[in-house]
């Protein structure tokens, strides 16, 4: 019997400074706290030694944050040595690290490559320095370029650039120009998503006080439409609502989330799906480090454990699968749940197709969002809750 595949997510909850729109589990911390955290992280990885998970094939790893590139070379190397020691990495494993311009040096990049990292995701957000300031980013466009060139020079062959649209004061023309500018660099992958106002962020407050003005929905949708057109012309396909790649460079790690493969989250607040079970680590940094260093890490692992019912899984199958432009496969549904998708969602699919929010592939084997369906995808997904 072949072993199951497994993806790993490693969370580094540190950054130089919190951006004004960010609601991720991350914040600035001193060197001592960062070091303590890495010690705890190593202990958590160690805890999986000799478990069934350690026998699964690791096909993707994603080191996310925060700004993981804030860690020192020694810290990063320690994490990867421990990971490789405990888990069974496949040779063709996709290993991504997130970084922000201005936090990387040539030495760090060398260290990443030595540890097998083969994909880098850079948070640029915008090539417009004025907008970067408005977002509370720590870098400017030139610093990004320096980082990018450094990565290319070191031989990194798979780079993603994160971009945001619908930013305060941004026009469609500004946005498109920026996108063209970035395309000149020919990254393999682009994530382009519109700003989401999250509660409890400074932006949310500023918006409510009228201190920032955001483009209206029409503009937002126009930017989205343009993104697709421009990137299509440049040879990038949209394979998920907000993700574009040259052929063969689709992010395998994120695809695991949308296809509901097994993944294990390690580090503060990380979420996991293993078989029929979802669980999460504690989100309290002090609790996380104290418990692991005191040898009681198990207490803050696998919290909010949730056994998914078949109903839950069918719903997830639909609302995650439909995020991908390829949509969901009827055959795969039947294979996973032992019944026809029509029997479960026939009415909903018919209704949504009538509203032109869903479409069927020419051979009838797959169902996916239409262009209109993407714009109101939450509405579409909601229909699949049983």
């Amino acid at each position: 019997m072949t072993n199951k595949d497994l993806s790993l997510y490693i969370h580094i909850p540190f950054c130089e400074r919190k951006c004004l729109y960010c609601d991720f589990l991350s914040g600035p911390a001193d060197a001592h706290l960062r070091d303590t955290y890495v010690q705890a992280l190593l202990l958590e990885i160690e805890s999986y030694r000799n478990t069934p998970l350690a026998k699964q094939n690791i096909t993707t790893v994603f080191v996310g944050g925060g700004t993981p590139s804030i860690l020192t070379e020694e810290q990063m190397t320690a994490v990867f040595e421990k990971l490789r020691d405990v888990f069974a990495f496949r040779n063709d494993c996709e290993i991504t690290i997130e970084m922000n311009p201005g936090t990387v040096t040539e030495e760090k990049i060398k260290c990443y490559l030595k540890n097998g990292i083969n994909r880098v995701s850079i948070g640029l957000q915008s090539p417009d320095d004025e907008l970067l300031k408005r977002l509370g980013r720590i870098h400017n466009y030139q610093q990004f370029l320096d980082t990018y060139q450094m990565l290319r020079a070191a031989g990194v062959k798979n780079i993603n650039i994160d971009l945001m649209s619908a930013l305060p004061g941004q026009t469609v023309a500004m946005y498109c120009d920026g996108l063209q500018k970035v395309l000149e660099l020919e990254p393999e992958h682009i994530s382009a998503y519109s700003l989401i106002l999250e509660e409890d962020t400074p932006f949310y407050e500023m918006y409510n006080n009228g201190r920032i003005l955001l483009p209206d929905e029409e503009t937002d949708r126009l930017m989205y439409e343009r993104t697709g057109e421009i990137l299509y012309k440049a040879g990038y396909g949209r394979y998920e609502i907000s993700n574009y790649a040259k052929t063969g460079f689709e992010c395998r790690h994120n695809t695991v989330y949308w296809e509901r493969g097994d993944y294990l989250g390690i580090g503060l607040g990380s979420a996991s799906l293993i078989g029929h079970c979802r669980f999460k680590n504690t989100s309290d940094l002090n609790v996380y480090t104290e418990k692991w260093l005191a040898g009681n890490g198990a207490e803050v692992q696998r919290m909010e454990e949730e056994q998914l019912t078949e109903k839950d899984e069918m719903e997830e199958f639909m609302f995650l699968g439909l995020r991908m432009m390829g949509g969901v496969s009827k055959e795969k549904f039947r294979r996973q749940f032992g019944q026809d998708i029509q029997a479960v969602y026939g009415d909903e699919i018919e209704q949504l197709m009538k509203q032109e929010l869903l479409a069927c592939s020419d051979d009838g084997s797959r169902i996916s969002l239409t262009k209109k369906g993407i714009d109101v995808s939450n509405y579409v997904f909601e229909q699949f809750l049983l």
Binding site: I241, N254, D375, S377, N378, E382, L385
Partner: protein, 605 residues
């Protein structure tokens, strides 16, 4: 206590404007006379409904008997009848007063006389009660007892020089109040050997005892086994038990006789048989005529009440049934709305009564309700000579069949400090009030008299009055009669479909303004859909106002990284849950809240 000396009985009530401390004084009197220890006292013993305590109002009349040993060394029996304090319950107040021989008038030492103070005093004097004033809240920094005394003498014409100066809250001056009750409230008269004649001033339903009738024995006597007859309703029954009121409990006794206040149980199942104001007599030896003043209480305000969850209809029906056991003035009958499904058209004494019933249904019976705009009873005179009493706007006949319509008007009295006379007159004008006159109570306060259409005051008049006078205006009204009026039915169309639950009757001059405000409000409340939704107000098929809910262009979670899928699921579930609680009209989902939001439209805060 088998034989009670009639000359030692004092039957009295406390009257006051809302918040002047009536219930607090009642509590102190009960405490002072040793009926309950302090520890046993719940704050405000007499207001025993949770809602009453929370709102600081008395809804049902409450009664308690206490024994007071006076300074003259004699023991007196006090029957304290606490009356409802709101205009909605005027008739109940008047019957409670009719059960008394005297009244304590409580006036706030800072605020002085208010509209309800006057209304209540006049009501008490109408019933020949001996009224004596008490000045409360003298411990307040803003208290001005001398001014208030003067005001009482000038405005009401009551002797006030020896009015006790008290603080009910802090128990100051209570003894003096009790002594004045002995001295100033007359002992009841009435002949215990005459045929039975007893006034019903309240009745409640108890699941063990059946209906418990609260009554004042005017003449004669009643005991277990007496066969009694209610003179107005004609119902008769054998008395099972008689007794008097302890604090929060019923204490049985052998007999009630002339001058006494107490209760009777007689295996009566329905409070409708024991109408407030009716006279009880001995079926075998009836009195010559009933006591004066009985009238059947009619509902003045109507609205539709629907369960938010259609499946809860039977629960709503049961709850209304139970509430009605205790509240003969609540009417209801089943009705159906296209928009809201199965529900009831309910009749109330007034808006407060409506709100109370609504809150009790929601709290005590755990029901989620959608109510339609409250309306009054319109008289529709049809061309064929038929007259309809219209309580549901949807039932208005075709305009071609209507000869004319009439609406109820009230005489309103508004007391206001002089600086706010302008804004208040303006408000009354807006509400189609007809100015009758103004009297100065003293230099700084005036009493305005208006005739006003009832349908203009049942929505939000009270709120508007308070906000435009910074809380200084007080208000009282009495139903006066019906007058012809130019009324139209205003319909609301959502996505071209008429929503019956939103229709209402309005004066033709106010239709545009009201229609416009309703459309604006609905626009705020109706979430955007995948398509554009026109909201229109129409009179007789002609659109007079319009708003549009724009189509939803974007509802997308752009970023869905990270494995925390549970969080995303929760967002979707919340969204879906929100829609479950909406009403479907055509293909538009309307939140329950939208139906309620149109009830309060006065935007001049």
């Amino acid at each position: 206590m088998s034989q009670i000396d009639q000359s030692k009985i004092r039957n009295f009530c406390i009257i006051a404007h809302i918040d002047h401390g009536k219930s607090t004084l009642a509590d102190r009197i009960i405490e002072k006379t040793g009926l309950l220890t302090q520890r046993e006292m719940q704050a405000q013993v007499l207001d025993n409904m949770e809602l009453e305590r929370e709102r600081g109002i008395t809804i049902k009349a409450q009664t308690v008997r206490i024994v007071y040993k006076a300074q003259d060394g004699e023991e007196y029996i006090f029957n304290l009848i606490d009356t409802p304090g709101h205009v909605d319950f005027n008739y109940e107040v008047s019957r409670s007063l009719a059960a008394c021989d005297g009244a304590i008038l409580v006036v706030d030492a800072a605020q002085g006389i208010e509209a309800q103070t006057l209304a209540n005093v006049y009501l008490a004097l109408d019933h020949d009660l001996d009224v004596f004033p008490v000045i409360n809240k003298i411990d307040l920094p803003s208290a001005d007892p001398d001014r208030v005394k003067e005001e009482i003498e000038d405005v009401i014409g009551l002797e006030a020089h020896d009015a006790p100066l008290i603080s009910a809250k802090n128990g100051i001056g209570i003894e003096e109040v009790l002594e004045q009750v002995v001295a100033k409230v007359p002992a009841p008269d009435g002949d215990a050997d005459a045929p039975l004649q007893a006034l019903i001033f309240d009745s409640i339903y108890d699941s063990y005892k059946g209906v418990i009738v609260f009554c004042r024995i005017k003449e004669g006597r009643v005991r277990k086994g007496t066969k009694i007859r209610m003179m107005a309703t004609g119902a008769s029954a054998d008395v099972v038990e008689v007794g008097y009121f302890g604090a929060g409990q019923f204490i049985a006794c052998d007999e009630l006789s002339a001058g006494m206040v107490g209760y009777i149980t007689a295996s009566i199942k329905n409070v409708k048989d024991t109408a407030v104001g009716d006279t009880i007599t001995d079926a075998a030896n009836p009195c010559a005529q009933p006591l004066p003043g009985y009238k059947k209480v009619n509902s003045m305000v109507y609205c539709g009440m629907y369960p938010a969850d259609g499946a809860k209809y039977p629960e709503l029906r049961d709850a209304l049934e139970k509430l009605q056991l205790n509240d003969a003035s609540l009417n209801y009958e089943p009705e159906t709305s296209v928009a809201l499904g199965f529900g009831f058209r309910c009749g109330f004494l007034g808006l407060l009564h409506l709100e109370i019933i609504q809150e009790r249904l929601e709290r005590e019976y755990n029901l989620d309700l959608v109510t339609t705009a409250p309306g009054v009873i319109y008289k529709v005179f049809k061309t064929n000579g038929e007259v309809i009493e219209l309580t549901n706007p949807s039932n208005l006949p075709d305009p071609s069949e209507i000869e004319h319509m009439e609406e109820p008007i009230v005489s309103a009295e508004i007391m206001v400090t002089t600086e706010f006379i302008g804004p208040i007159m303006e408000l009354c004008q807006e509400r189609r009030g007809v100015y009758l006159g103004m009297e100065y109570m003293e230099e700084t306060r005036a009493l305005l008299r208006y005739d006003m259409p009832l349908n203009e005051i049942i929505y939000d008049f009270f709120d508007a009055l308070k906000s435009r006078s910074r809380g200084y205006a007080s208000f009282d009204y009495d139903l006066k009669g019906y007058v012809p009026s130019q009324l139209v039915k205003l319909d609301v169309l959502i996505n071209k479909e008429e929503v019956d639950a939103l229709s209402f009757i309005v004066h033709k001059d106010g239709a545009y303004e009201r229609g416009r405000k309703m459309c604006e409000k609905l626009k705020e409340e109706i979430p955007r859909h995948l398509f554009e939704i026109p909201i229109q107000a129409a009179v007789g098929g002609k659109v007079i106002a319009r708003e549009t809910v724009r189509a939803m262009r974007k509802d997308v979670l752009a970023k869905c990284y990270g494995g925390d899928i549970s969080r995303k699921r929760k967002l979707l579930e919340k969204q879906k849950e929100g829609k479950k609680r909406m009403r479907q009209i055509g293909n538009v989902e309307i939140p329950q809240k939208a139906f309620m939001s149109v009830l309060k439209l006065d935007d001049r805060k």
